[in-house]
Symmetry: C2
C-alpha cells in the first residue's frame, strides 16, 4: 500500500519543531510491511492542501497537524471537503469534547465544535490527552487518516490505526526484537552476512544509537519469526540484554530487586551520569544506596581511602586507582555490588600514554574485584555516554555471571 | 525567496532517521528572513526526483542527501542533468577528495570520481568532514543547493550557503539572543504583549525546551536590534543567564573559574544529574570537587551526618534535611559553594502532604545557608531535569548575588 505522510504546520517549516511524527508513523507502518513512499510538509493554507492532494497518487494518505480548535487548524474540514464525502457534526464526539473540558475545569466555547465534524462513515480515533480526535475514512480506493500534531496525542491513535490497517488489509504480523549492548552495528552487519537470506519471511531491521543497538524482527508467520529470533539469540546471546521494552538500567534494577542486592557506585569522568541513569528507573531507591563523584584527588583519598602512593605513582586514571576506588567503596558500604569509573573524557587532558577516551572500570561483586580498561572514541559527551553504558553492562554481566 | 527543502533517503522514509536536517536548514534560513514554503522527503529513484522537480515552483531549491559515492547516491547527477546546465569533473575537487582519502589512510576507487561532477559555473561547498562536497548553482531565476545528508557534514556548508545567500540577495541581517531560565514560555508571552509591536523591524522568536527558553532577535538594522535587546534585557534581566552560545553549566563553570571557587553537591532525587551536568563542561575538573548521591537514609547519615532525629521527625524530603545535607557537606569539604537536592521524582512515592514533584534545595555559599522549596510538574524524567536546572540556577544567582 503506497503511502504519503503529510505534516501540516508553520512550526515545522520554520525549524522550531523537528518533524519526529514522520519517523514515528513511518517506523510503525514499516513494521507491518507498509512503505512510506513520499512525505510532505506544508503550510496551513487551503490552497497548499489542494495542490498536494492534486499531486499525490498514493492509496494511503496520512495527515498530521491542524486538527485543533483555532482558526488556523483547517485540516479536518479541508481534507473532508476535498474528498467530497458526506460529513456532519458527530454528537457523540461533541459530548466527549465537552466532557474533556469539564474534566480539566474549563468552559468549552463554540470554536471547539468543529472538532466534532466528521464523515458519516468513518472510524473516530478518540483522544484522551487533548480535545482533537483523529479520524480514518475512505473514498474509493483511498484511505485517509487524520492525526493531531502533538506527538503524545498522536501515538495512541497511530497504534489504533495500525490495528485498523492490519485488519482491513488482512495483515497478520508479529513483531518482536532484542536490545543489545557491547557490539557495534558494523560488526553486527558483518556477522549477519548470509543470515538474512536464511529467513526470507522475516524482516530484520537494526536501529543503532550511541553505545546501543536494537534489532526488530517482523513476520506474518510466528513460527518463522521465532526460528529467526532463536538462531539470532544463539549467535549473539552475550550481547542481548532484553526485549524492545527494556532498558539497560531497568534490567539491572529489576535484576537487583529480584536478587535483593544493593548497588553503589563511584565515578570520576562520567561525573554522575552512571548514578543518574540507574536512578532514572522508578523504584531504584530500593536497590541503589549511594554514589560518590570523586572528581578531585582529595575526594578520592577522603571518601575512599585511595592511597597517595597510588595517585602519585600511577595517577587517578589508572587500573590501580579504579581497583582501590571500588574495593574501598565495597568495604565502606553495605552494598553487594560496587562499580568504579575513572578516565579522561576530553577534549583536553589527554597525553600520548593516556589519550582522551581512556577509561578504567572496577567492579566488586560480593568481595571479588575485577578491573577493565577501554578506549572509547567520540567527543566528550559520547565518551561519557559510552563509559556509562559500558559500566552498566559490566553490572549486567556480573549479575548474570556471563 | 520561496524555498523548497527536499530530503532524499530511504532511512528517513522508513523512520530509521529523524529528519533533523529540515529543522536545521529552515531555522537558519528563517533567521535571514527566508521562509521555507514546502518540504518533501523522497526515495532515491530518478523518477522521484523528476516528479518533484516538475511539481515545485519555488525559486530556491535545497536538496539534502544522496551525494555519497555509492550507486544509490544520485542527487548530484540527477539534479544537474534535470536543469541541463553544463557540467564536468572538476579536477581541483577530485584532487581534494584524493587527499581526503590519503589522510584517512584509504585508497580511493573510481566510484568516488562522480563526487567531483559539478556545473562549470557553480560555488563548490568543500567538505572537511567527509568525501562529498556540496554545491550551489543557478538556472535562470532558480538557485539550487545540494547538501550531503550527514548533519555534521551539512552544517558548515549550510553556514557558507547562508553567507552566499545574504550576499546574493543583499541581505544584511544581524542575529543575537538571550538564554533564559526560571520563567515559562506562557508567562513570557503574556509579559511580551505589546512588546513586539514596539519593534516592528526586529524578528523576535522564542524556542522553549524543558526548564529553559531562548529568544532569538533578528534585524537588518543593528541599532533597532540593540534597542529591542536592551529593553528586553531590562525587563527580564534576572532570568537571562547568557547569550545563544552559553549553557547554564558553562556559565557556572566559567564564573567559578574566574572567582577561583570550588563547588560540591549532594543529590538525592536528581541522582547524579546535577553533578553530571556540571562535569559535562570541559575544564570543570578545576572547579568541581565532589558529589555524593545519598539515595539511602543510611548514606545521608554516614557521609553527611544528617541527624536521625531530622530523618525520623521530618523525613528525608524536608527543608530540614536539605539544610543539614548542604551545611554538613560545606563543613566536611574545602568547597566554597555547596548545593543539596532532595525530593520525590515519582511516579510512585508521593503522598498528599508530600506530592510527586516536591523538591527541597539547600545552598551554602561561604558559610551562609539558604533553603528553597519547589513543586515541579511532569513525569519522572521532567521533574529530575527541572530540579537539576533549578539547582544550577540557584548557583548562578548566588554567584552573581542576584
Amino acid at each position: 500500500m503506497r503511502t504519503a505522510v503529510i505534516t501540516v504546520g508553520k512550526e515545522v517549516l520554520t525549524g522550531k519543531t523537528v518533524n519526529t511524527n514522520l519517523a514515528t508513523i513511518s517506523r510503525m507502518l514499516n513494521q507491518i510491511g507498509i512503505d512510506t513512499n513520499r512525505s510532505f510538509v506544508i503550510d496551513d493554507q487551503k490552497e497548499e492542501y489542494y495542490k498536494i492532494l492534486d499531486f499525490i497518487d498514493e492509496e494511503l494518505i496520512i495527515f498530521t497537524g491542524g486538527l485543533g480548535p483555532t482558526i488556523d487548524d483547517i485540516s479536518r474540514e479541508t481534507v473532508i471537503d476535498y474528498f467530497g464525502v458526506d460529513a456532519s457534526i458527530n454528537q457523540e464526539v461533541l459530548k466527549g469534547i465537552n466532557e474533556y473540558f469539564d474534566q480539566i475545569g474549563l468552559k468549552m466555547d463554540d470554536t471547539n465544535n468543529k472538532q466534532a465534524y466528521f464523515p458519516k462513515k468513518s472510524v473516530i480515533l478518540h483522544n484522551d490527552l487533548g480535545t482533537a480526535p483523529g479520524v480514518i475514512f475512505s473514498k474509493g480506493e483511498k484511505t485517509i487518516i487524520l492525526f493531531p500534531g502533538p506527538p503524545h496525542e498522536l501515538l495512541p491513535m497511530l497504534k489504533e490505526s495500525i490495528e485498523y490497517l492490519k485488519k482491513k488489509l488482512k495483515i497478520r504480523l508479529y513483531s518482536k526484537g532484542f536490545r543489545m549492548v557491547g557490539i557495534g552495528e558494523s560488526v553486527m552487519e558483518k556477522a549477519l552476512i548470509g543470515f538474512y537470506e536464511l529467513h526470507p519471511n522475516v524482516n530484520i531491521a537494526p536501529y543503532a544509537s550511541v553505545g546501543e543497538i536494537k534489532y526488530v524482527f517482523t513476520s506474518n508467520k510466528i513460527i518463522d519469526l521465532e526460528s529467526a529470533m532463536n538462531q539470532f539469540k544463539k549467535k549473539f546471546e552475550e550481547y542481548i540484554y532484553g526485549d524492545l521494552n527494556d532498558t539497560l538500567e531497568s534490567i539491572i534494577v529489576e535484576s537487583l530487586t529480584k536478587k535483593k542486592l544493593i548497588i553503589s557506585v563511584v565515578e570520576s569522568c562520567t561525573g554522575g551520569l552512571l548514578a543518574g541513569s540507574i536512578t532514572s528507573v522508578n523504584g531504584s531507591s530500593r536497590v541503589f544506596a549511594e554514589s560518590i563523584v570523586t572528581y578531585s584527588n582529595e575526594a578520592k583519598v577522603k571518601y575512599l581511602g585511595v592511597s597517595l602512593n597510588t595517585l602519585n605513582t600511577h595517577g587517578a586514571v589508572s587500573i590501580e586507582c579504579a581497583y582501590e576506588m571500588v574495593d574501598n567503596l565495597y568495604n565502606k558500604t553495605i552494598s553487594d555490588v560496587c562499580v568504579s569509573v575513572t578516565g579522561i573524557a576530553g577534549p583536553t587532558g589527554g597525553t600520548k600514554e593516556k589519550p582522551v577516551g581512556l577509561v578504567f572500570f572496577g567492579i566488586n561483586y560480593k568481595g571479588n574485584t575485577k578491573t577493565y580498561k577501554r578506549i572509547f572514541n567520540g567527543n566528550r559527551e559520547m565518551i561519557r555516554k559510552r563509559a556509562t553504558i559500558y559500566a552498566l553492562n559490566l553490572v549486567r554481566k556480573e549479575l548474570n555471571q556471563l
